[in-house]
Symmetry: C2
Subunit: 395 residues, 2 copies
């Protein structure tokens, strides 16, 4: 299979046939280059990461689980360097083409996985989501994508970034594929779309819709209406009474600190090469004052409390996954930093509270995909997937 969209890592393409007879037999998948594949160096999107590290002797849990279920691995995909990035422009490996939004970024850090699925090069693909790295590219590329409940999946063989926020996620172009893959990785049957199995309360996060670009909020309204019809009742609520920007600030006072701690020894011993923006994020992580970290840890408790209160079993919340569709490629950092900060306002709850979130594609703004997200109680991952699948059939 050709890769004229630059989604796969350079060099010989890895391929491992899935075990015959499994539920995913006949499907193909790709793995973000943060997941170990036996015999293949894990690149992590950074040319100095593999240096001096042993080549993995086993597959990451998520890779092995898909193989065991019958899916065939067809390659490893480009990622933002050590998953630090939200737009998908890798200064060393290039920017995978977003076939749904030409000339625009695919979103990151799971850029190649999203781009490959959007281009039809594979049926599904593994990504990781710490601060939005599955949610954002699924919104920008018009895909189903999930950030599961934090801590639910085995992350063995997945390159960590900020462990208290890191999750394994995946993409699919079609709801039926998404449900099949989700069932395998969640080890849970996806509920059928009987009303009794679905949530009966929908919260519309008015602050999040108000924060998104006006045309994004408008474009998502028909999806929100269909979702409300599916669920049966809806109400408006403020998701973040303290402010979405306050939640974002808390996340940005915790995640880079953890990322710096993860990579500190490597930075010291290897002085690795990075794009300036990535190095800057790590430096900032090394310099976050303790007073900010302490405050952010307290705010995280408040966010967890708020999300738990909003989302008892049977309730889901919807919000725009991203405040805008995919930005143009090649913009200056001064512009990208502002875009990233706005994205973080809608994504920070994920890393802070760890609730599961599913991006549902289905609409566009000026021809560019934009996703609607649903969030549920911790552990309600399968229910969210069921809602996404059921929504496809609601007109």
């Amino acid at each position: 299979m050709t890769d004229d969209i630059g989604a796969f890592v350079r060099g010989p393409r890895v391929r491992i046939e899935g075990r015959p007879g499994g539920p995913l037999q006949g499907l193909t998948f790709a793995a973000k280059d943060l997941f170990d594949v036996a015999g293949v160096p894990t690149g992590g999107g950074n040319h100095d990461w593999p240096t001096g590290r042993p080549v993995p002797t086993g597959n990451a849990w998520a890779v092995q689980t898909l193989l065991d279920a019958g899916a065939t691995l067809i390659g490893k995909t480009i990622t933002d360097e050590v998953s630090l990035g939200i737009l998908g422009e890798n200064a060393f490996d290039g920017t995978p083409v977003n076939v749904r939004a030409p000339g625009r970024v695919p979103g990151g850090s799971s850029s190649g996985s999203a781009a490959a699925v959007a281009a039809g090069l594979c049926d599904t693909a593994l990504g990781t989501d710490t601060g939005g790295s599955v949610r954002v590219p699924s919104s920008f590329c018009g895909l189903y994508g999930i950030r599961p409940t934090h801590g639910r999946l085995d992350v063995t063989g997945m390159l960590p970034q900020a462990p208290t926020s890191d999750t394994t996620g995946w993409f699919a172009q079609y709801a039926v594929t998404f449900a099949k893959v989700s069932s395998v990785l969640l080890s849970e049957t996806i509920p059928t779309a009987l009303p009794t199995k679905l949530p009966d309360k929908l919260i519309v996060a008015v602050d999040a819709f108000g924060f998104a670009d006006a045309n994004v909020a408008t474009a998502l309204q028909p999806m929100v209406k269909r979702l409300a019809a599916l669920v049966g009742s809806s109400r408006e609520e403020i998701m973040a009474p303290q402010g979405l920007s306050v939640w974002a600030r808390a996340q940005r006072s915790l995640q880079p600190v953890e990322a710096y701690a993860t990579f500190k020894d490597w930075l010291d011993k290897g002085n690795p090469r990075f794009a300036f923006s990535v190095a800057k994020a790590l430096v900032m992580g090394s310099m976050t004052p303790q007073v900010d970290q302490t405050w952010a840890a307290l705010m995280r408790q408040e966010v967890r409390s708020r999300m738990k209160y909003l989302l008892p079993a049977g309730t889901i919340l919807c919000l725009p996954t991203t405040p805008f569709p995919a930005p143009l490629t090649g913009q200056p950092l001064s512009v990208l930093d502002q875009l990233r900060d706005r994205i973080t306002c809608l994504c920070a709850h994920g890393g802070l509270a760890g609730h599961p979130q599913v991006n549902i594609p289905g609409t566009t703004v000026d021809g560019l995909p934009i996703g609607l997200s649903i969030i549920g109680a911790r552990g309600s991952d399968a229910t969210l997937v069921a809602v996404a699948q059921a929504l496809e059939k609601v007109s």
Copy 2:
């Protein structure tokens, strides 16, 4: 000519014959890849620097001046990225071999120029010195090296870093070559070694000798004695009454800020790739508090006043060029940062006050070269070169 020491930039080697009949006819030189050579992209030690920039159509002033004087250019040499570095380890281009201290760094940022001259691949080589980038490699590689009076030479075609500290410098293995090249680049006759033309007062900077490693101070004593004999009188003085570390702090509160200003637009638009240490220096430059900058500017005035007071015409000051000989290659950043900070204590006066300084080789510690520096009044560059040349003949 082979380059098995990795001193020259990759790719076809540039060569331009010197004009016949000049005073440097028969000599060869190399130019740090911060100097423009017509028709050759200036690399600046960073693989993203040349991108989108026009290829130079003329030679840098220093290159043209040497060509006009008859020297032949035989190549461009490796430098620390955009001259930000003092040890000479470039994560993209490698570390030029210091033939005088195998397994140890050549010093930077003019690493390739010093390494090439030390290995006998050329007679002289152009470098730049902002915070020590000629002085340090000349000490580590056992070479004559000069940081001229700031503002004296035309810097046209030289990639800037921190313009209020940037200077053009050069290296040579032999005093006679050093004097010839210096005469050309300074556009001044080097005084003959008649006592009447040489300084008659020598200051021994006791704080600087006390700051250096004890075995370095000891190893330099015979040279100091010969120098005192040559000059005729000597006295001990504290160079930096405020503290060498205070001077270093001032320099580190000014130079990275200027460097960031120099490269800011490029960073923003290009998001270039750097070693982590280089990106970190730029980030720190972008974050230096105004209160520190303001203080450092005042301290710079004090340093200028002190150096002017210490160094009237006819007086020179000597100090160890570096506190230790060349460190081992491949050490962790946590170690290198401490080494750099100590080096800065002995070098900061150069950027702050702009007096000329010449490194004189001639001794070793455990077989590793270490240099003695002499500093004079602003404009006394030729006198310093004459002293260096005369000292060779004093036993």
